[in-house]
Each structure stands twice: as structure tokens, then as C-alpha cells.
Subunit: 105 residues, 4 copies
């Protein structure tokens, strides 16, 4: 789950088992693309572009962001949730369900 805080470390939480370099690179690439698409939508709005085309682009951004969430949730289940359950901290299950609820809104 979260690594113990070292001296002087900020209070924000960190993963005990870091994400693989490969997952990080994939996620960063997808986030960059989503940012690019959002900048594209900004330009379309400036250019008074037709609603259907703007909405199609926004739908693509939404599913790109959702895909990243799915990847990170799956990885969270495989690492943090498994580790915490094995360590006897079942509270991680309720937290995971809360993330699933938000994820499925």
C-alpha cells in the first residue's frame, strides 16, 4: 500500500511497490495524447467548429482517460490490494470498492 514516510518527506502517500517503468511510460504516453486532444478541442472551439466533430473528440478524450484509470486500478489490485490483504489489512478492500464506485460513475 503506501510506503512509510521518511524524514522530511511530504505527507502525500506513495506506493510501496512502484509501478513498472513500462507501465509508467505507457501511462505517460496516453496522458500526453489526451492533453494533445484537449488542446485540439480548444482550437476547435476557437475555430467555431461543428458540435458533432467537437463532441466526437471529447468522447475520445473521455475514453482515453478511462482506459488509464482502468490500467492503474488493475495494477493497484495486483499490487497494493494483494499486499495489504496478505498483511491482514482488509480495509484495503473497502477502499478499492470506493475507487470502483467512482470509476463506474
Amino acid at each position: 500500500m503506501t510506503a512509510a514516510l521518511g524524514a522530511g518527506e511530504c505527507a502525500c502517500r506513495h506506493k510501496a511497490t512502484p509501478r513498472t517503468a513500462e507501465l509508467q511510460a505507457d501511462v505517460q504516453k496516453r496522458l500526453n495524447r489526451a492533453i494533445g486532444q484537449l488542446n485540439g478541442v480548444k482550437a476547435m472551439i476557437d475555430d467555431n467548429r461543428y458540435c458533432g466533430d467537437v463532441l466526437t473528440q471529447l468522447a475520445a478524450v473521455e475514453s482515453a482517460v478511462r482506459r488509464v484509470s482502468e490500467m492503474l486500478l488493475a495494477e493497484h489490485m495486483r499490487t497494493c490490494v494483494v499486499e495489504e490483504i496478505r498483511a491482514g489489512n482488509d480495509g484495503v478492500v473497502d477502499e478499492a470498492m470506493e475507487l470502483v464506485r467512482r470509476f463506474s460513475k
Copy 2:
């Protein structure tokens, strides 16, 4: 619906009735915020931040993008769809339903 193409204009479609300056400014502000949030997620991934916190941020981006889609779809219905129906082009209704389907995925 879409304005007739002037000489030399690109083939992409434009709105016959432009969005108000107020709606454009609101949408641009929301898109900027979503881009900022996505950049925030990039930094969280670099910083090995805990999954729950990253997923919470991503859920916020998703609902921000969805809110923009909703605003643009509502405005599309009030302008393009009404205009086209009044002009006898009921085809705009099927296009609107296709946008609704994608919007509700």
C-alpha cells in the same frame, strides 16, 4: 447546422450559429483546468504517488470532460438541431442520437 463552405475554406464543418462568447470562455476555462489536472497526474506518476490519489484525480478529469460534452451537446440541441428541424432536415435527429449514444458510453 454547418455553415456553407466559402471559397478556399477547409472542408471541416463549422457551426451556422456560433457559440456565445460566454459559453466559449467557460468551455476554454474548463478545458484548461482539465489539462492542468492531467499534467498533475503526470507528475503524480513520476512521483510514484499512491494509486487511490491518482485515480481520484483521473475521476475528476473524466467528469470535467463529461461536463464540457454535456454543455456543448445541450447548446447543439438548442441551436443546430432546432434550426435543422425547422428547415425540414430531420436527419439532424439521428445524428444527435448518435452523439447521445457516444456520450452515454
Copy 3:
């Protein structure tokens, strides 16, 4: 939109242009199937059936109900919304957007 109330008619609203017999039959068939699936889930719960199998059945019910909503929303747009816009009652557009919002939750 809604037919004018005849003497002694209940206050509930009715469609001005009735749904075709074909659409009604299709919707009734789908609703019957969804009811059958829900009764199937009731039996699975009684039988202590494994969660994955029960959740798969519930997901099928949810998409069946969603499909019926989509069919009725599309038909609503093609009949009520078009009629009301042609009659100058643009208020129907805001009502349609409210239905879309609920439909896309």
C-alpha cells in the same frame, strides 16, 4: 408531445403520436426478457451461486434496460421533439437534454 386530456382522462401524460405496433412489440419482448433474467438472478441468489456468474447476469439486464431506453429516446426525438420544435415549443429541447443526462449517468 402529449395528447390533450379528454374528459375523465387520468392526469398522466400520453404521446401525441403513438409508438408503432412494431416498436411496442419489440420493447415488450425486451422487457419480458429482462424480467426473466431478473427472476433468474433471484434463483441464483437462492442457490448461493458464485458472484461472478450473478454479476454477469446483472450486467446483461442493465444493458438490456439501457437498450430499451435508447430505443424510446430515439423515437421520442423523432416524434415528440420534432413535432414540438415545429410547433415553436423549444422547451422540449431542455426536457430532452434532461432525459439525456439521466440516460448517461
Copy 4:
């Protein structure tokens, strides 16, 4: 996860840890209500009821079914997933993610 098959038992899977009587009663009550609502929609279609009212009823059914899925998924995580992880069968995590994906469609 699933209880071992006894002689003559059907091939379908059963939960190792049965759902509490309380959860079962709650789920059955909600399923009965959803079935009642679907029967209500059938009557509305027969009665040519206005689209907005029918769609509102269908949206209520969809969220009722979703709520049941959420309850069963949460219970699945607290029992089957925890048990299997403790027994060293991490495959249950991928199955849980597949259920989450379907649940969030």
C-alpha cells in the same frame, strides 16, 4: 471462491462463503422492486404513456440493478477475493477486474 463440487452437483459454481441471510433478503427485495418497475413500464407502453415518464421509470430500474451489482461486487471482494488471495490464488484479482470493467460500462 467456489465451493468444491459434491457428487451429483451441477457444474455451476457456488460461493465458498455463502452470502448472509440479511444480504440475500435485501437483494431479493430490490430485485422484486425492479421486476415490479419493469412490469410498470410494460403497462405504460400499453397505455401509450409519454416518453419522458417511461424513460424516467427505466432510469430508476437501471440504477436499482446497478445498486444490486455494487452490493454483490463489494461482498465478493470482501469474501471470495480476500479468501483466494490469502490462499495464494492471485488469479481472482484479474477476474475481479473483469467484473469491474463490465460493471463500469
